[in-house]
Structure formats: structure tokens, C-alpha cells
Subunit: 345 residues, 2 copies
Amino acid sequence: MILKRRTTIKDVARHAGVSTAAVSYVLNGKENRVSPETVEKIREAIRELNYIPDFSARSLVKNASKLVGVIIPQTEDSKQLILENPFYSEMVSNIESKLREHGYHLILSGVDKGKSYLDISVQRNLDGAIIMGIYPEQFYAELKEVKIPIVLIDSYINDTYFSKVGIDDEQGGYLATRYLIDRGHRNIALVTGSIRKDGVVEKRFLGYKRALQEAGIFYNPDYVFEHSVSYAYGYEAGKAIAAGHPEITAVFATADMVAFGVIQGIKESGKDVPEDLSVIGFDDIFLSRMFVPPLTTVRQDIALKGRKAAELLLEIIESDEPDVVDRKMEEIPLSIVERQTVRSL
Amino acid sequence: MILKRRTTIKDVARHAGVSTAAVSYVLNGKENRVSPETVEKIREAIRELNYIPDFSARSLVKNASKLVGVIIPQTEDSKQLILENPFYSEMVSNIESKLREHGYHLILSGVDKGKSYLDISVQRNLDGAIIMGIYPEQFYAELKEVKIPIVLIDSYINDTYFSKVGIDDEQGGYLATRYLIDRGHRNIALVTGSIRKDGVVEKRFLGYKRALQEAGIFYNPDYVFEHSVSYAYGYEAGKAIAAGHPEITAVFATADMVAFGVIQGIKESGKDVPEDLSVIGFDDIFLSRMFVPPLTTVRQDIALKGRKAAELLLEIIESDEPDVVDRKMEEIPLSIVERQTVRSL
DNA sequence: AAGTTAAGTATAAACGCTTTCATTTTGGAT
DNA sequence: ATCCAAAATGAAAGCGTTTATACTTAACTT
């Protein structure tokens, strides 16, 4: 593989009979510094030589890489991204297209347990990052050090340094639970990923409790099944509920993926959804529509969430005074979509 | 945002009282060129100053970026990645973890219709790329120009320049069809994404025809429903089959995602799977297990596919003579997993 | 003691680009 | 013709690294 030498700005300059500075000017849209004829000559040369700039060199001098980091959570056990969950892949896909539209590229990555994201952000000179999910305190502290714009998706970290996009999870949890209560359910289980401080699950849990309390229903800790956001855990919980809790008539799963598992678990225990047990999910991933039976769930616009996060980040990156932009919290609207997994008692 | 100046190798050198060369040596594992005490001093300085190297600068001089491009197909209409399909997200997730393990980062991207991948590979000085799916001829021609190692996933482009990882799709198509035939089906529909040259679908289609022929069944073009790899199209086709072709007893969908749609379409036409119509899919994405009814399908190890692609690429990148490594075709094994969507006639 | 060698270290060029600033050219105005 | 401002151009420094090369020192040989 004899690597042909790169075509550089120098080649272009020579070919056009001008200095590298001139070439750089037209490359950077500062054409007013160059005469129209020269611009044309340079354009021509660029075309003829098929010149493509080197972003590393550019990054070095401009101190901007046109690179954005995107972090998504990993499975607890292995080090794999939980990209399989359509919730994340749909967001990533929307973030990617928005970024590309603006000439940015995306480095997709998980972050090793206990390790920081400092390394990659500094190594790659990232212009910004979008972080999904929730991490240890320390992680955020380090992130701030890097001094790049950060957008947090689904995090309640209370620090104005970070911009955020998310939903009103407490309200979502409330809505879901209330929806069940309104249909006559009193003994309502909660199946959920681990309830961590500043995470979405914590808020949804709070909403669940608020709805219960408001309806005068005693909160029973035995009814919360907390472990991980996965089909597998939902399945397990579904079985446990169907087998061990005949008094429970409905379950609120804090993610559609979990709800699928719950339903499957219930079915395999010989009960039916929604005849014997009602189930409501959260997210409305595109699969929920196609599930059998179609899942009743709390809908959030996932694509919008991704797009908003990208837009917000770009806005901060491209503002002249990134430190002055006030860090807003973009809130994506919420609604219940009624399908066929909840019945009225 | 007062950007504190980067900590550079110079700072480290000064702090340790040595030259930048020495620092660079220990950074690059050439410690034998430096005395043990100096190494220690430098290590200390690095730690104390919290030094993190700049990969742009490194890339510039080493002409290697530790960056790998990953391309996945986009939806026809919009410019969005079809990452929602778990088939892709599972691969990406496995590729990512493998790459990260080896100190590489991944730039995830689609490629704009008609545009080339040349830009990004040159701009970013990519060390290699993994390309999923199939693109116009021209695309590959340009790709070769860049002279970086490329691994193609699911492509039958006949060019030894590229390494490949894939399955025996013809055999897969054959197996699926044969499976149905063996269970008494004669009128078998094929529902598939567009049959493009050198794509997996073309091969599966060929396998379908071979099985038919071998069984002495007349191939009926009316039985192939060709459009796009999507739930939506499957749904449409499912309806069309259930409503307009009472003689058809089984359908082979060339992707699980499509099979889901087909089944849904059939059900909404008032027929049942597998009672009235049998359906077999392809891929065995993790959802197929959880689908109701659980999908009978041709299984390929998607995670393995991703990992193999990453490994293969790394192997070529890190070999001293990348042009000498012979470009193999890694073949992932195939099998049928029997679940509940096919019945014997 | 002089010479040789090896080991350790430092200097400086190079990678491809942007951008400051000095210089040259142009074209009015006088 | 002369002057001047404005426009166009170019030289060169610098971004943070690596690495070839040069240099210094220490350690052996004779």
C-alpha cells in the first residue's frame, strides 16, 4: 500500500500560482480578502487536484475539531452499549443526521466503568458532547473541567453548567399511574430500572407515588420491582407478579422495553394482558405500536429529543460567547397513547 | 469560558526537567531510549499535570488517527440512519466495544445520497472503515482511492481490495425456503427489500429460487413482494397476501423486521399466524424471541458479525504490511431457529 | 591517557493548516 | 505626475506532536 502523499494546501497554492494564505482564505469563506479572479483560480485548482482539507491540522490551529462526542449507557455486565434499545438508537440516529447537516461528525462511545470521559474529549479536542443517561457525580465534575459545551439527555443533575433536554418525568410517572387508577386499578406494581439519584426513573417513581397518594392508595414497597432497564428483567418481574401477587391488577413499567418483558412473563405464567393484568409502558418506542397486543404507554417524541439535543449543542458551540448562552432545559411534551394493554376494571 | 491553555508535552518536559523528546518516548512506549529514573520522573510529571495527548497533533505527524469510520445505510426518503433496526444497532454496539478495547474511536455516519465517503475519510485521516450494506459502484471505486483498510459487511462486491464479513445468504435463503417446503408448503411468497446487485437480498432470493426448483415448484414472480426492508412494507405486503392470495400458505421475509410487519398485516386481515399462514424471517434479532408469536427465523450471530468485522479491520490496520494481508471473507455460521410462526401442512 | 563505544538526552524539522502582519499592487484623487 | 488609501498578496509563526539526527556524557578498552 504505497500511500500517495496527501494533496495539501501547498499543492493547491502552487497549482494556482498563489500563496497558501490565499487558498486558506477561500477555504474558510473569507473570500473578501482575495480578488474574485484569484478566488476562481483557487477554486479551480481545488477541484482539479481534488483537494480535501485535513481536519487534524485545522483542529490544531483553530482549536476546534468539528467533532461531537455522544455517550450512551452501557450494559452493567459487559461493556457493550445498550444501543439495542430502540430508545437510544432512535436518538442517536437523529442526532447524527442533525450534526452531519451542520458539518460535524459524531464519535459514538460508551464510557468504561469508573473511567472518565476526560480522555477522549481532550484527546480528540471535542467541540461538545451529548450525554445520555446518568453517571456517578465524579463523572460530571471531570466533564466540567474540559470546558466544552455539554448537553445532558435525561439527567437531573443540578448544575447550570450543563444544558439539558428531557421530559417531565415526574409528571410522566404520575400520568401513567393516574391513568391506571382512573380505570379502577388500586394495586399497581412498578417495574423499573434502578432508581438512581437524578435519573429519570427516580422522578417517574415519585410521580407514581404522588398519583397513589392523591388517590388515597397506600404505597406498598413490595409492589416496586427495581432492577434494570431490560426485557429480561421485565420478564422476570412479570412472572413474579403473575405468580406471587394475585391482588395486583396493573403494572406500570418505566420503559417500553421492560413492559414487553413484563407482558411476556405474565403470558408465560398463564395469565393474559389485559384481561388478567393491565400494563402501561413508557417511551413509545416504534416497536410498541407493533407489539402484540399493542402497548399502551406514555409517549415522548424520541426523535425530537435527539434533534433538540443536537440543535441545542450546536447553538452553544456556534455562539460567539458560549459561556454566556444560558443553559436551558428543553422540555419535550408528553402524552398517553392508549392501545390495548390496559383494561378498565 | 476562559479556556485554560492545554497542558502540552512541553509543560511536562519542563516540569520533569527533560526534553520533549524524552517525554514523547515514554508516551510511545519507547522507554528503552530513556533511563529508568528519567522515565519515572516523566511519569510523575504526566500524572501531576494531568497531561492528555492531543490526537490531532499526533495524527498529523504519525499519519494515523486511531479513528475508524462506520457507515450504516440510511432510509431512502429522509437522511436518517436506519439504526432503529436492531440488526444494525447490535452490530454497531459490538463494533464499538471492540474498537474501544483497542484504543480506537468510532465515527458513526451515514452517507448522503450520491455523495462519497471520500471526504470524511480524508478529512479525518481515518485508519479504516467498516461499511454495512450496499452502495452504488462508484462509491466503492472512490473508497479504494483512499487506500485505507476497509471491511464490508453484507456485501458481495467482487473486489479483493475489500475484506468482507458476511454469511452465506444464498444458503440462508435456500434453508428458509426449504424449511417451508419440507413442511408441506408449495405456494410460498417472498417479501423483501429491493433486490440489488451484490446485496444480500439478491442472494437470498437466489436461494429461494433454488429451493423451489429443487422441489419442482414453479417459480411465480407474482409471489415476490419487493420493496424495502421495513416493518411498514412488511405490513403492507402481509395485508396484500392475506387478502389477495388465498392460495399462498407461507411467506419468507428476508428480514425479521419485515416478518413482524407481515405478521401484523396478516393478523389485521383477520387471519392467523401460523394457523392460516406460516411466516419465516431472517436474522434472528433479539426481538424475534420476544415477538408474539415467537418468530421462526434463520439465525445469524449478529454480535459476532460486528465483532469479527472490527477484529478483521484492526488486524489489517495493525499489520505492518497492510497491503500484503490477504483480504479474507469471514463467514458467520447460519442456522434455523424453530419457534412458532410456521406450521406443517 | 587517549580512544572507542554505547547510552542518554536534546535540538530541530516536519506534519497541514490558519492567521497576523508586513509588503506590494491598484486605482483614484489631487 | 504624485500621493494615499484601500485592496490584494505573501511570508512566517504557531498549533502539539514525533522522530531523525546531533550532541554529551559515562564507561570501557587498550
